[in-house]
Amino acid sequence: MLWRLTGLTLCLGVTRSLEGQQRIDLRLSAQAIPSITAVDPIPGRGSLTEARVVQPLVMLHAGVLGGHLRFLGTLDLEGETMPHGELTPGAWGEGFNDRRHPHTYAHELLLSGVDLLGRHDGSAIVSLTAGKGFVPFGSDDPMSRPTLHYPVNHHLAQILERAVVQAGVRVGPVALEGGIFNGDEPERPGQWPRVTGRFGDSWSARLTVMPVAGVELSASRAKVHSPEHRPGAGTDAWKWHLSGRVDRPLAGGRLYALAEWARTEEAEGFFAFRSVLAEGAWSVGGHRPYYRFERSDRPEDLRELDLFRSVRPHLENSILGTTRFTLHTLGYGYGFELARSRLELRPFVEGTLGRAKNIGGGVLTPQVLYGTTRVRSVAAGVRLMWQMAGHRMGRYGDLLALPAGAESAHHHH
């Protein structure tokens, strides 16, 4: 029914502007980050250094009907380049711990109807998006943000790789999005969302206000049914997220900044995990220094013999404790543009320092797991990006595009 409505609305809104707009806009982009990371400590104590190609993506943006109908496909090859995850302090989710999990191959596969009502709704923008990708909740995926290593709060501040249908409307500086999706998280890179029996069991909504160009304030709410147990018998998660984001010119360069707060409750509030994060980057010339602070809670699950992995699905509704990571990440990159600015090479180095501490008891404390509460890591690598500028993972339907004439770092057609 929703699909029929989408088609009907598309016809209604864009029929009058079809003439002369049959051209198909295509853009192929790609990225990969060869990197080396050293982390101290790791589970079981000691340190470890690994080299990986992380975040290897191939993306296809396509648009027809004057950009009113858009396709986005993101092929993520982490299942091939880092099947056992990426060393990342505090990372967790999808059965990985202290390693960031590989994403599914079909990372984004979405069809969007943009400005469906055309001039019928005046200056409003109504969009409808369906497919597999991020649900309207929280902040942009860390892959499209400055730091190499994902923050601990990835699964508190984003909901990704779900079969989702979402609608959005923007009126003036206010955009409202809502979506329904399947609650189950993927368990391996080749796995598809469990649409049968799970699609529609979870929902999210996000309100975004853009008071001035380059500034966004957003609030999100979501209920995710049984994310950790794919058949659907697990506990539900209730999620909240607030953020402020800045992306605008400053002092001859460009300033990016994000501050966010997130909270997830599980088992009817028996568990609560919180996060605050602030990060910023200033790009001037080819230089790009950046910094991130976060204080985020991580549930500790029963580990397998490979201490980087946890038993999935959980055996019970229990956790082994909660670890609060307080981390400072500082980095610097320098960009070289080649091939008429379509190819960018950005060597970088970044380091993380911080602490991990147990809160609220439990048996799996940092002392047990790592033998210390101190957290350190250093990484270096090169971002290789082909026509990657502008994509913000998790924002669909072009609701945040600025009015014509206003500067935008993310508007793309």
């Binding site: 599980e266 038993v311 082994l320 404790g321 048996v363």
Partner: protein
């Protein structure tokens, strides 16, 4: 402040000044002033000495014929008369009676048009003599015999109008039981209250304490002295691993291990029991390539030690022959399958292990161990259980297997009883019933000394942070009709959740591991219904607060053995 506010304030001030001047300033008609009776203090409800005013004319001479009105404005009570005409001496009097509430009484006299009017008389009502003692705290408490009650035992002395009476001597005396109080005699304070700490006498049962004061009836407090477990041996004896399940047989105890501490949970600890029953570490079995020894049992004939394991390539069922008590010799294993629990039972003369495959491809897997001595374990059957958070534990008795399957609830199979033609190779499902808290984890089918087989105790395992918090109740289910189990009673321990059980059927006591709540004993005699809180016999946290997370319990040789995830194996004396 703006101009508007200035004018408003000025107007209010002018009005107030004018009003005050009219009532209390000099008057052409004369003046009224208090003459006698002000500032009295007496017990509540007492009739006071008269209040008296003097009315004078403009020249200061007494003025007759002036009507003075009296009324009580604060504190209750009454005045009589309420209106009095001054005599030739210019005096007017009334008699006030204090109210029944201790405190200030205010009576106002007024004569219209006379300066100084109205005038107020203030008197104080104090509590009367003590008329009763009232219990205000500490009644009906519960504590272990020989220990102090958690709250103070407190009375309030009151007069006949329930005003608190200070300075009353209260005498405290133990009426039943052999306890003691912190002071045999105390005096009430300004709030009329006094309290003592009541330490119960040794022993168990109801105890009482009386509070008395001269001339008033005494009051009696009651308390229940509970029994408790005593720590007899063991404890804090596995610092390098988290301890999981236990079994005790033939003078030895066997404990599993779980997860990772400073060492992996791949050990079975073998404890020799001393003459007093205290566990002394004797030996260990280390199973490489596994992460948790999740369940452990010795066969009824004492010949076989069997345990299940999770994680790693060695996850599965491990079978050891006990060539002598405490001396296991490996015979066989079925590995590559994650087994959460296992239960041994003999059916038709053969020994079987009823195991719970969890997680993934959840199933009740029944292994035939009859050829284990020759190194063979045969899978007799594998019955899928819906992946509704899988299968967690089993209880097998009389040819029936009770399967505890989380959100899918309770399954009952005929696995050899014959009532439904079931066998270990072809289990026949008799019923499946969801409920019981929704997180159905473990159970025990109880056969009472009278032969009644009515109750199945089910453990619910709710959310928890292992090592510090837990939740979940004990549910009592009437299984008189296997096809229609019905919950009839439950037990809740606030702030903690249950895990594994052991039942002393002869003495009708259920012992339950309660994670951070320690261990608890419940009286399960007779008919069980409703809330079983009153059935609690005793409880104990063996390792104390912050060092207790009990996984399992087992009765052996007159002691209760408890495996505590954080503090190891304990030997407890029974309540």
């Amino acid at each position: 402040m703006n101009v508007r506010h200035v004018f408003l304030a000025g107007g209010i001030a002018t009005t107030l000044v004018a009003a005050c001047g009219k009532d209390s300033g000099p008057s052409d008609q004369g003046q009224m002033a208090k003459q006698a009776g002000d500032g009295q203090t007496a017990a509540v409800a007492t009739t006071l000495a008269p209040y008296q005013v003097l009315v004078t004319d403009a020249d200061g001479a007494p003025k007759a014929g002036v009507t003075v009105s009296w009324r009580v404005v604060l504190g209750g009570g009454g005045i009589d008369p309420a209106s009095v005409v001054t005599g030739a001496d210019g005096l007017a009097s009334t008699v006030a009676t204090l109210g029944t509430v201790a405190g200030t009484q205010s009576v106002r006299a007024s004569a219209s048009g006379y300066g100084g009017s109205p005038v107020s008389f203030l008197s104080t009502g104090t509590a009367g003599p003590v008329a009763t003692l009232v219990k205000v705290g500490g009644d009906n408490q519960r504590a272990v015999g020989g220990t102090a009650l958690p709250s103070l035992t407190m009375v309030e002395a009151q007069d006949q109008f329930a005003n608190p009476v200070a300075g009353v001597t209260v005498n405290w005396a133990v009426a039943a039981g052999s306890g003691a109080v912190s002071s045999a005699s105390t005096v009430t304070g300004a709030d009329g209250r006094t309290a003592v700490t009541w330490t119960l006498g040794a022993g168990t049962g109801g105890m009482s304490l009386t509070a008395s004061a001269t001339g008033v009836p005494s009051v009696t407090f009651t308390a229940t002295a509970a029994a408790t477990f005593s720590i007899q041996g063991g404890g804090n004896n596995v610092p390098e691993r988290y301890t999981s399940d236990l079994w005790v047989a033939d003078g030895f105890a066997y404990t599993g291990s779980w997860g990772i501490r400073s060492a992996q949970g791949n050990a079975v600890k073998i404890w020799q029991l001393s003459a007093s029953g205290a566990p002394v570490l004797h030996d260990s079995i280390i199973t490489p390539n596994t992460g948790t020894i999740s369940d452990i049992q010795v066969s009824d004939d004492g010949k076989w030690l069997v345990f299940t394991s999770e994680s790693g390539t060695a996850a599965g069922l491990h079978v050891y022959e006990l060539t002598a008590p405490g001396q296991p010799v490996f015979r066989a294993a079925a590995t590559g399958v994650n087994l959460h629990t296992g239960t041994l039972a003999s059916i038709g003369g053969k020994l079987y292990a009823f195991t719970a495959k969890d997680p993934g491809s959840c199933a009740l897997r029944i292994y035939d161990l009859s050829a284990a001595a020759s190194g063979t374990i045969a899978l007799a059957s594998a019955t899928p259980i819906p992946d509704n958070y899988c299968i967690h534990d089993t209880f097998v008795r009389d040819g029936y297997a009770f399967v505890f399957a989380w959100n899918s609830g309770l399954y009952i199979f005929d696995v050899g009883n014959g009532s439904h033609a079931g066998s270990p190779t072809v289990p026949v499902q008799i019923s499946q019933t969801a409920g019981f808290g929704g997180e159905t984890h473990n159970g025990w089918w109880y056969w009472s000394p009278t032969g009644e087989k009515k109750y199945l105790f089910i453990g619910e395992e709710g959310p928890g942070a292992i090592g510090s918090s837990s939740s979940g109740d004990i549910h009592v289910v009437d299984v008189s009709d296997f096809t229609h189990p019905v919950e009839v009673a439950s037990y809740n321990m606030p702030g903690a959740g249950t895990h594994n059980f052991w039942v002393d059927e002869q003495n009708e006591v259920l012992y339950a591991a309660y994670y951070n709540g320690g261990v608890v004993a419940l009286d399960i005699s007779g008919t069980l219904s409703g809330n079983l809180a009153s059935r609690e016999v005793a409880r104990l946290k063996p390792g104390g607060n912050g060092n207790t997370y009990v996984w399992g319990v087992m009765l052996y040789g007159g002691s209760l053995y408890a495996s505590d995830m954080v503090s190891g194996l304990w030997q407890l004396g029974l309540p």
